[in-house]
């Protein structure tokens, strides 16, 4: 329990997904998830999201829940509206696992 803060010095890549799938909106601040689906009907918008790293297989860390929310993906910080986050499904990683 001494390493309570999971976000320090841990590569997101080491985290193991739990198999529980949520919409990105349902994650809470500090949680990490693996993107399993991006279901954005607007093609241009979808391409923009993917080019920013919001694409299947990437891990995201929710830095701040809310609308808009802030998340970290590929080492950069992205502000994202709820309306888009709804379209993204993630496989949440458990905090406990993150700390190994």
């Amino acid at each position: 329990m001494s390493q309570a803060n999971p976000s320090v010095n841990i590569s997101l890549n080491q985290l193991v997904p739990t198999g529980e799938k949520f919409s990105l909106c349902e994650l809470s601040t500090g949680q990490v998830g693996l993107i399993v689906e991006v279901n954005e009907p607007d093609q241009e918008q979808a391409d923009r999201l993917k080019a920013l790293g919001l694409c299947v297989g990437r891990r995201i860390e929710l830095l701040k829940a809310g609308n808009p929310m802030i998340l970290r993906v590929l080492g950069s910080r992205i502000g994202l509206a709820h309306r888009l986050a709804k379209r993204i499904t993630v496989d949440a990683c458990h905090q406990a696992q993150c700390c190994e």
């Binding site: 976000s7 320090v8 010095n9 590569s11 890549n13 093609q43 241009e44 918008q45 391409d47 923009r48 999201l49 993917k50 080019a51 920013l52 790293g53 694409c55 299947v56 297989g57 990437r58 830095l63 701040k64 809310g66 609308n67 808009p68 802030i70 993906v73 590929l74 080492g75 950069s76 910080r77 992205i78 502000g79 994202l80 509206a81 709820h82 309306r83 888009l84």
Partner: protein, 683 residues
């Protein structure tokens, strides 16, 4: 720190003696993620001053410049807008792709494509460079911001990266100049090769071996390469930024923080600008006297002193405020705060149909609507962009400051607290008008939802003082140029209209002059002087009423009367149609005070206005008229250059005309209501 890293198989045996002479124009294109520092590097290489800032999407159009290599060969450098991907999905991506592939008409195929990578965020940046390399063009990777990555304790193995990418990798800091010489050498080698000899890079590992989603494969590749090239274990970067953001992006604290920052900037403007403003004022007063004393009395003297020097001086006096505003905004922009402001304002703005991204153009519109309109190019959605363009000129630009200052002086000459409240009120009115109009447009002509926000929030950086000073200088020059061209022309034209046709003095003035003569012979010089002053004023009033400007004013009078304006103000409204500042000088001129009186002794000018009466004996600048005038100038279009830019940015006169129409109707009705209501209250 490793120097220039070269992949083993390329470039190693190129020596200067066998290089081919260059004949054709050489082009080097700069590409990279938004905010990677392309423009900073461009400025460093070319010595130019394109706009930079810690906000993704500052550069909106490709910019060209040139640089001389060591042997004097000239190279054209093209700075491109930032891109996350070059797959060709959007228009900007296609434009940049065409430049890279040499398919842009009138531009040669680049001898080298320089991909600027942000060393503090290698993984995301690698995505783009892998796409560029796969286009099979001669590529050079620039690992920018190594000053920052070093500070953060990130160690990147440039040699390893070079072999992974198959192209040279040059670590640089565009801000400090570190590594720029190496970059020039690499460019030199690359450019002096024959086109066919130029090495086309190959990725060491394929990005997408039989994968279904092209993005996924490429990201997996980027992840692996990053892993391989980072010598230090991954350290948490940007935690300080995250901590600051917890406050600045908070739904409540964030908005307070935003207003605190804005109030701080305004406070600086009002508190610091007064001394230099007085100096400018005194300088022009002195110039008027000095020049005036060398030109014989008459039309020419009046034209130069009142029309030219007075007209320009009345506007240049606001230069210090403009400089301070731009200096502060530039520093703020360079810290990275602006994307946080977008983030918190998005919450408020999307309810009325404005995208959060409209915030940045709107912020720059507080200096001038024109750069604001151009910055709307950062808004991708057409509807969102149009709403922003249509409402943006309602915001208080620096050209309105002279009008606000005049009205404030008339109403609350010696009550600074009330005066600053009135100023804030005028600014707020502009902002409220934007929100209301955007909402009405959303409900009527431009239905639809705003595009949801997706925005990168860059890490905070220490702002560059040099950049801020240079931007301030450039903006100041633009302002001075405007004063020296448009405003000068209008001032001269106005002077002509207010001076001709010349008429005989009226009977009462002739009588007064006879009295003056009598007083003088009787030795009562003081009384004579007082009467002389009165006679002069009366004479110029009479002359003005019968001048072209006076005749036009009489025509306008019935239209502006419901707003509490008389014909003199009416003339001001019309002459300031092309540029708002002109209302102030117009009022001074048409009041027969003469610009020189207004300049040498501003109090005299304001006092006279304050005492001016309508024919029925009522005060002309009553409280109601002042408020009405202020409201009118907050809301009215009154700026020809803005109209031209709206036309250019929307592609048709239709929207420019619509904008003029709705703003004029809005200004007229709001000003009418203000006049009637305030008249009732103060009656």
């Amino acid at each position: 720190m490793p120097g220039t890293a070269t992949p083993p198989e390329n470039h190693s045996d190129v020596s200067l003696q066998v290089l081919q002479p260059v004949r054709r124009e050489n082009v080097v294109a700069l590409v990279g993620n938004p905010n990677a520092g392309k423009t900073t590097l461009f400025n460093r290489l070319t010595g130019l001053r394109a706009k930079t800032g810690n906000f993704p999407g500052i550069t909106i159009e490709k910019t060209e410049g040139s640089m001389d290599l060591m042997d004097g060969h000239r190279v054209n450098i093209v700075d491109l807008p930032g891109l996350y991907s070059i797959a060709g999905a959007t228009d900007e991506e296609r434009i940049s792709r065409d430049v890279i592939l040499g398919q842009t008409p009138g531009m040669a195929k680049p001898a080298a494509v320089v991909v600027v990578l942000d060393a503090t965020n290698l993984e995301r940046n690698l995505f783009l460079i892998s796409q560029v390399i796969e286009l099979k063009v001669p590529t050079i990777a620039v690992l920018n911001m190594i000053d920052l990555s070093r500070r953060d304790g990130l160690k990147i193995d440039a040699d390893k990266l070079a072999s992974e990418l198959g192209c040279p990798v040059v670590p640089v800091s565009a801000r400090t100049g570190e590594g720029i010489e190496q970059l020039k050498q690499v460019l030199h080698l690359s450019i002096h090769q024959k086109e066919t000899d130029r090495a086309v890079p190959h990725l060491l590992h394929d990005t997408c071996a039989g994968c279904s989603c092209p993005y996924k494969g490429r990201y997996d590749w980027a992840e692996k390469v990053t892993e391989a090239c980072l010598e230090s274990s991954r350290v948490a970067v940007g935690r300080k930024t995250d901590r600051i953001d917890r406050i600045l992006t908070h739904p409540v604290a964030g908005i307070f923080g935003f207003f605190a920052i804005m109030v701080g900037v305004f406070y600086l403007i009002f508190s610091l600008a007064s001394v230099p403003m007085d100096m400018v004022d005194a300088g022009f007063g002195w110039a008027q006297e000095f020049v005036g004393s060398y030109i014989p009395e008459g039309h020419l003297n009046s034209l130069i002193v009142d029309g030219v020097i007075g007209g320009i001086g009345g506007v240049i006096i606001f230069l210090p405020q403009i400089c301070i505003l731009f200096f502060c905004l530039s520093l703020l922009e360079d810290t990275g705060y602006l994307s946080r402001a977008v983030f918190v304002m998005d919450r408020l703005m999307r309810h009325v149909g404005l995208p959060g991204k409209a915030f940045i153009p709107m912020l720059s519109a507080h200096a001038c609507a024109i750069p604001g309109l151009m910055a709307t190019r950062g808004i991708e959605d057409k509807r969102d962009r149009l709403v922003t363009i249509l409402t943006l000129p309602l915001l208080t630009c620096s050209a309105r400051l002279p009008v606000y200052a005049m009205v404030t002086a008339l109403l609350f000459g010696d009550e600074p607290a009330k005066a600053s409240l009135l100023f804030t009120g005028a600014y707020s009115l502009g902002i409220i008008a934007v929100l209301v109009c955007a909402f009405i447009f959303k409900k009527t002509i431009l239905p639809g939802q705003t595009k949801p926000l997706v925005l990168e929030l860059p890490s905070y950086k220490i702002p560059s003082l040099r950049t801020a000073l240079l931007i301030t200088y450039d903006r100041a020059m633009i302002f001075v140029k405007k004063a020296g061209t448009i405003i000068l022309l209008i001032s001269i034209a106005l002077w002509v209209l207010a001076t001709f046709p010349t008429v005989e003095p009226p009977a009462d003035v002739v009588q007064m002059r006879q009295q003056i003569d009598q007083l003088q012979t009787a030795g009562q010089t003081e009384e004579a002087d007082a009467l002389e002053y009165k006679a002069n004023v009366r004479e110029s009033e009479h002359a003005l009423e019968n001048s072209y400007a006076g005749m036009a004013g009489k025509l306008i009078e019935p239209i502006v009367k419901p707003l509490g304006f008389n014909w003199q103000i009416g003339v001001g409204v019309v002459t300031s149609f092309a540029a708002r500042e002109v209302i102030v000088s117009t009022i001074a001129v048409v009041y027969g005070v003469g610009e020189d009186v207004a300049e040498e002794n501003p109090d005299a000018f304001i006092d006279r206005l304050r005492e001016a009466r309508k024919p029925d004996g009522e005060l002309l600048f009553s409280t109601a008229t002042c408020f009405s005038l202020l409201v009118f100038y907050v809301l009215a279009m009154q700026c020809l250059p803005t109209q031209a830019v709206t036309r250019r940015e929307t592609g048709s006169w239709k929207w420019a005309m619509f904008q003029l129409g709705y703003m004029t109707v809005l200004a007229y009705s709001a000003s009418f209501v203000t006049y009637q209501v305030v008249s009732l209250i103060t009656a």
